[in-house]
């Protein structure tokens, strides 16, 4: 009984970090997520981790605060993040944003910051919070 309990504990101890690493996929992405987690916790002490579901809701949501041409992330990235998209303002083709298609996504911190700043303003009319950024990347890391 005690032994089984220990085994479960051991499995959880190994399995949870593994799942986290798998979701993050690369040390660079893990570091970006860790930074956002620190900021999310600072903003809300009750922060208990990023959520794929919240990230998907953000991705699929429709908003009215930003540019009329981009009410949603899907305006440029289509409903399927594994598919190529198209910039709704310039028509420029956009490579898929799903990590499974392009593992280099969300691994360059400066680039990630720059693009969230640009795109959140366009879709939401404001910058994204650290929680929203972390949720979004967590969703894309599972796509």
């Amino acid at each position: 009984m005690k032994r089984r309990y220990l085994l479960v504990l051991a499995a959880a101890a190994i399995g949870l970090p593994l799942a986290a690493i798998a979701a993050a996929g690369s040390p660079e992405r893990a570091a970006i997520l860790a930074e956002y987690a620190t900021r999310a916790r600072a903003a809300d002490p009750g922060f208990s981790g990023f959520s794929m579901q919240r990230g998907e809701a953000l991705f699929r949501g429709s908003f009215s605060g930003g540019d009329a041409r981009t009410p949603s992330c899907m305006s440029c990235h289509t409903a399927d993040p594994r598919q190529p998209g198209r910039n709704a303002k310039t028509g420029r083709p956009i490579d898929p944003v799903a990590v499974s298609v392009d593992p280099r996504r969300y691994t360059d911190a400066a680039q990630v910051d720059k693009h969230f700043a640009r795109d959140c303003k366009s879709v939401l009319g404001r910058d994204c919070t650290a929680l929203e950024r972390g949720d979004y990347i967590t969703f894309m890391a599972g796509q």
């Binding site: 198209r86 303002k89 310039t90 420029r92």
Partner: protein, 157 residues
């Protein structure tokens, strides 16, 4: 006789055409600077600098807080570096990416901000509205929608 006159007129008109279509009939020097290519290319085709005069590039780079309605925030020093490249390769710069002919249409004191307003561009893109409304076009500045070689400076097709 009137027929011959008409034909002569047509010949003159046709002879004038290559001059007008020159910008579309040969390779235009594409952006060769990696930083310019990367930063401009994040949102749209990094337009060949030869399509605008130097003063236009300076005006565009001086006004990044309202770049066609977008606020562009760049790390310190990048804007100056990009402007230096664009200005030194502009249509009226020595060499000018082979676009002196295209520059002919720019008013001597004009500071155009849109390549798509050049009369030479308009003449070669005189399409019905339905062409411009094609979902893959999105906007007139989306060269790549119809010119797959635009990134390499080919606008021939």
């Amino acid at each position: 006789m009137p027929m011959r006159l008409l034909m002569a007129l047509a010949a003159i008109l046709l002879a004038g055409l290559p001059a007008v279509s020159q910008a579309g009939g040969k390779q235009v020097a594409p952006v060769a600077d990696p930083l310019t290519q990367k930063v401009c290319g994040e949102c749209h085709l990094a337009f060949p600098p030869g399509f605008l005069p130097a003063r236009s590039w300076s005006a565009l780079m001086a006004d990044l807080s309202d770049h066609f309605g977008e606020e562009i925030v760049l790390p310190a020093g990048q804007a100056a570096q990009i402007e230096a490249y664009l200005v030194s390769h502009a249509g009226d710069a020595p060499g000018g990416g082979g676009l002196r002919e295209f520059m002919r249409w720019v008013a001597p004191t004009g500071i155009p901000r849109r390549i798509t307003e050049n009369p030479a561009f308009l003449r070669e893109h005189d399409f019905p509205d339905r062409v411009w409304r094609d979902p893959k076009v999105v906007t007139r500045s989306n060269c790549l929608a119809c010119h797959p070689g635009a990134s390499r400076g080919w606008f021939d097709d």
